[in-house]
């Protein structure tokens, strides 16, 4: 695990106020103090202009977040300041110490002040996250290749259907070598068999193939039967897609 030295982020807040006197100094606080930062998190910085006269309108706020580890954000505007902090260091999670200060300008009529504090936070890296599973191709596969030893089926399942998926991360990039886990629920069957889930890896293009077949005694003897189930594909413990396959002697159906 990478160990990072405590870094310091500075939030510089500049209040430029019209001139009026006030007895209470402004203050500021982070919405995540203490808390955790996550990639893309919006972290609000709340501030109060103190006892400044209502006429002492805050007309400009600058927030800067910067540091050697790649954090940066800048917000400018009226009212509350907020910013999105993001991490491009690519590291593992590590504790972060944030120092911030609030400074309000002093004028003849509006009083200002400054505030310093520390927020403990944990920053998590922006690593690829499995985000979408799209159908890459699908259709009947001929000739069927899955073995079926039952009498009447000539050693092979009567049909085979293949559907290929592509797994992508949150940036749309294909995710290679991801372990895909299949699970079934809501199983019903009058074929004398239940569905057999299998696992596998995505290839170098983020693609993996789901291969369906049915080897059941009713089908091999000219009868009919159906297996139904709810199918969920997961990777990294994230459910990526839910499908509803139906195995029938006459063929295979799946939605969506």
């Amino acid at each position: 695990m990478r160990v990072f030295p405590p870094a310091v982020l500075c939030l510089g807040i500049l209040f430029l106020l019209p001139t009026r006197a006030s007895a209470q100094e402004p203050y500021a606080s982070l919405s995540t103090d203490p808390g955790e930062f996550w990639p893309g998190d919006a972290i609000s910085l709340y501030y109060d202009a103190g006892d400044a006269d209502p006429y002492c309108e805050v007309y400009n706020v600058d927030v800067e977040v910067g540091g050697s580890d790649g954090f940066y954000d800048e917000t400018s505007g009226y009212g509350n300041a907020s910013g999105s902090f993001y991490d491009n260091s690519g590291g593992t999670s590590y504790p972060y110490e944030i120092d911030y200060w609030l400074w309000a300008g002093i004028s003849d009529e509006c009083v200002s002040g400054d505030e310093e504090g520390t927020a403990e936070a944990t920053v998590f890296p922006s690593s690829p996250v499995p985000t979408s599973l799209s159908i890459y191709s699908q259709g009947d596969w001929n000739p069927p290749s899955v073995a079926c030893p039952l009498a009447g089926c000539n050693g092979t399942c009567p049909w085979e259907y293949r559907r290929a998926y592509r797994l992508r991360d949150q940036w749309g990039a294909a995710m290679a070598n991801q372990f895909m886990v299949e699970a079934f629920s809501n199983v019903s069957s009058d074929c004398g068999v239940g569905p057999s889930p299998e696992n596998g890896y995505t290839d170098s293009n983020g693609i993996f193939t789901d291969r369906f077949s049915l080897c059941a005694a009713p089908c091999c003897s000219g009868g009919s039967c159906t297996v139904e189930a709810t199918q969920v594909w997961s990777t990294s413990n994230i459910a990526m897609g839910t499908f509803y396959p139906e195995w029938r002697c006459s063929g295979f159906y799946i939605s969506p």
């Binding site: 886990v181 004398g192 993996f208 789901d210 291969r211 997961s234």
Partner: protein, 249 residues
């Protein structure tokens, strides 16, 4: 025999992380290491299928047999979609021991406990493990298999609950074509024997997995309550294949 083994685990095995429900023994499956290059990650917060999918992947990459009983899914109205309560965190598990892997999981879901049975890990919700009404705690006077395959073992387990069950013939298959067909076939057709007496169904499943050597069992429920009517039993080979049987209707 299994009862004695269980006692040994409980007496000598309470080494570490007892507060987290991890019952370890020296030299057991918990000491197996997940390959550092593995992409196994624990995604938090846990989703509805997370415990099962995480442990199945951990079992596959670390080549550790597991026995897993899961908690019945919560029945949400159709229009309700699961949303994590906080932003997603993915904790890398490569290079960790299975002890670290299981500990991280149980830290995230403390309803589960893990027992290291030496050659395999058994993970189950504490309440279900101790519930006499749980179908896996059903007592079995005797269970015997002589040179049988996984498919035949699966049928034999179902016959504990339904003695007249004719047996499953064939398969409704799904999933990626096996990368190693020979290895898959060998694991599916491997013959093994089991002889146990005065045990629970849970211990029967453990005995089957241990006798086969490259197999895990997973029991999940279609819905609450926990019962044989809602139970799904799956044997899963290390090569990625599996066999599943439903109970009840």
């Amino acid at each position: 025999m299994l009862t004695a083994h269980k006692v040994r685990v409980m007496v000598f095995g309470v080494l570490a992380s007892l507060s987290l429900g991890v019952y370890a023994q020296s030299g057991g499956a918990l000491e197996r290491i997940v390959p550092p290059s593995s992409q196994l990650r624990l995604t938090l917060p846990l989703g509805p299928l997370s415990v099962e999918t995480f442990l199945r992947e951990a079992s596959a990459v670390a080549h550790v047999a597991i026995g897993l009983e899961t908690i019945p899914p919560i029945q949400l109205p159709p229009h309700v979609v699961f949303h994590p309560s906080r932003p997603m965190q993915m904790v890398p598990m490569g290079g960790k021991s299975m002890h670290g892997v299981i500990e991280a999981l149980i830290e995230a879901d403390r309803r589960y406990e893990c027992h290291d049975l030496g050659s395999m890990l058994e993970i189950a919700p504490t309440t279900q493990r101790n519930d006499p009404m749980d179908p896996l705690n059903r007592r079995v006077a005797e269970f015997a298999l002589e040179n049988k395959s996984v498919a035949e073992a699966l049928d034999a387990v179902r016959r504990i609950f339904e003695p007249t069950y004719p047996g499953s013939v064939g398969t409704a298959s799904s999933g990626p074509p096996p990368p190693d067909v020979a290895q898959t076939q060998e694991q599916q057709q491997r013959l093994f024997s089991v002889h146990v007496q005065r045990v629970t169904v849970r211990e029967v499943l453990n005995a089957i997995v241990q006798a086969h050597g490259e197999l895990s069992w997973i029991v999940r429920y279609k819905r609450a309550p926990v019962s044989e009517q809602t139970m799904l039993l799956q044997f899963e080979g290390f090569a990625g294949w599996s066999r599943l049987v439903t109970f009840g209707n």
